[in-house]
Amino acid sequence: MASGKIQKIALVGNPNSGKSSLFNHLTGLNQKIGNFPGVTVDKKTGFCQLTKEVRAEIIDLPGTYSIYPNSTDEKIVFDILGNRSNPLHPDAVVVIVDASNFKRNLLLFTQIRDLNIPAVLALNMMDIVEKTGHSIDADVLAERLQVPIVPMRARRGIGVDKLKEVLAGIKPNGAVRPIFDARLHCGAAIDDVKKNFQIEEDYVAYQMLQQYSINDSISDRDKLVLGEIAIKHDFKRDEVRRKETLERYAAINHVIDSAVKEDASYLPKEWTSKLDSIFTHKIWGYAIFLFILFLIFQSIFAWATVPMDFIDLTFSELSVALKDMLPAGALTNLITEGVIPGIGGIVIFIPQIAILFAFISVLEETGYMSRVVFLMDKIMRKFGLNGKSVVPLISGVACAIPAIMATRTIENWKERLITIFVTPFMSCSARLPVYTILIALIIPDEPVLGILNLQGLALMGMYLLGFLAAILSAALMKLILKTKERSFLVMELPTYKVPRWKNVGMTMFEKSKTFVFEAGKVILAISIVLWVLASYGPGDEIEMAEQRITQQYDLSQLSDVEFENKVNAYRLEHSYAGIFGKAIEPAIRPLGYDWKIGIAIITSFAAREVFVGTMATIYSIGGVEDESTIKSRMRNEINPDTGGPRYTFAAGFSLLVFYAFAMQCMSTLAIVYRETKGWKWPILQFVYMTAVAYLSALFVFQVFK
């Protein structure tokens, strides 16, 4: 390969074959996550200096067992490898193979090889092979498969230098005899495809015939042409594919006979079966799972608060400092009250996201995650979910954002979509301050059965309510959504492994980065819009606030703080947000709310935690820190229609239910938009959740009134 030009190299392999380790070793922190054009799949690329002269772009393709796709992710593999005009089509492919599970891993390699792209076989986990007393003769293998072979231990980075060296010197393939000769099964059809599409390789033409009906990257016109060719030559898709797999395995067995020596005396995977007898045990299995859940909760609630408080403090101090430094004016206000708190509102989620993904990454690295799926699949399936939905649902109690990001492991699109759709019903940590203050208002602080507390029970009830809403909505969607895609659980249970901490660190870093840059943009924009709505209003009422308060009150009776609070409350009432609050009052009156609660609901659509702060401003109280003051103010608030308190049991309960169900989180909508690649699902989710919230709150208020 000429120096100066950047080589494109694709990385392919089975799941659990060590592909991500190899990718991390090749590219280091020099990685970028983007999207493959037009699909919902993350594209991980990075650069690698192969030699002093040769630089390569490494593309990490989704892990797959075969070139025939089972999930959206896996379709990418043939889209890129089979289509020479694809801008991502590589100059060379590294197929990474788990040598301790050689036979099944080789299937994908033989398919890639028949596409006739220059390939290198990275023979990973050679140490495990040697430990089990087997041996693989790499030289014989290289000769049999006609491909350069690099034995390696990707976890430790052993063999990576050799791989770079081989890649730098790789040359375009000459004509090789295919391992599976598709021509013998459907030669005439292949010739037709080759002629129509100017394709050189038999196997590429054959794969187009196999995949045209499921492959979105082929244009409708081409699909039509391919369909006609298939009919004309009576192409028996499934039958040929079956023969292909059998022929390939026969060829693999032949290769293995000469290159692999097995030692039958060794008892394989002893540790794994011992651990499985504990982790999938009737009692211990669930007990351990619950304990791990508890640990995750604990760390997200308790450990994350320290850095989160620190971030909160830093940003508010930054705002204050900037306000002092910059000249007073609208721009300064925008920066200190809109932009900085907006950025703070993004950064504050990083500790939770990083911690959650550290856990998820460790559970995946060790192989435990597939056991959780194994334990939970039967229960989850009843609700249209998948065993793999457990992880996002649990994470949702901390925050729906990382939880929705964690749904990527679900291959079936319908099941993944349902999981994304219902996860925000789980009561996230942002609802906690709202629950706390409302429960304190309407539920008496009384002991129950001696040890339990009535308020505590009510709080637990709210979490349960969220979980029930999630599960029941999933069951509902299961009935509505139709899919041609079949749900499989043909899933490998990998051997248990010690986690690779470097990979865990990379995952934490990458997920946080993705969140900050992708969801962050939207959160920031919304925060600024909200600030504008709450700071400006029609006419000159906002500017006149101080004057109006001066006219209304006897200034000698008011302290400076009280005066400022009254002014702020007056401004909010006459801002656009306040006007909207009054505008929606007729709609929320049947739920037991007035326009002030209306403002809180509107601002809460950016993020629920804004509720307490908005309440504080509306009832003109200074700091948010002193929640008891807000509470007493709210308790003393009078409903002018009845003359009684505004926050009756019915109104408070109705508001609690509303906050439990309503989709009041712009960040979540932003992430759903990102994960589903469109506005359809976030909008439906918003409408559905808000409708559920409204109707439930209406029901509650009317019943308890």
Partner: protein, 74 residues
């Protein structure tokens, strides 16, 4: 006689794969190394009886019962 499938095996018992009863699924299973003539061992079931864990081609695979029942054994 009724065709025996993987779900008829007892935990710890092995059988030899004979064929498949589900066309679409068999393509996937073949690719995962479940080939006719290969030994398949029933390891254990999940606590609720479904899915199950089998050993085939040197690794562990989890299958739902309605997937396992499509694999007939000799």
């Amino acid at each position: 006689m009724k065709i025996r499938s993987v779900v008829d095996l007892n935990p710890g018992e092995s059988g030899v794969i004979n064929g498949f009863m589900d066309e679409a699924l068999s393509l996937k299973l073949l690719e995962m190394g479940c080939l006719p003539g290969t030994e398949i061992k029933y390891n254990f079931a999940a606590p609720l009886g479904d899915p199950i864990c089998v050993s085939v081609a040197g690794y562990n695979l989890s299958l739902r019962l309605d997937e396992a029942i499509t694999i007939s054994i000799q």
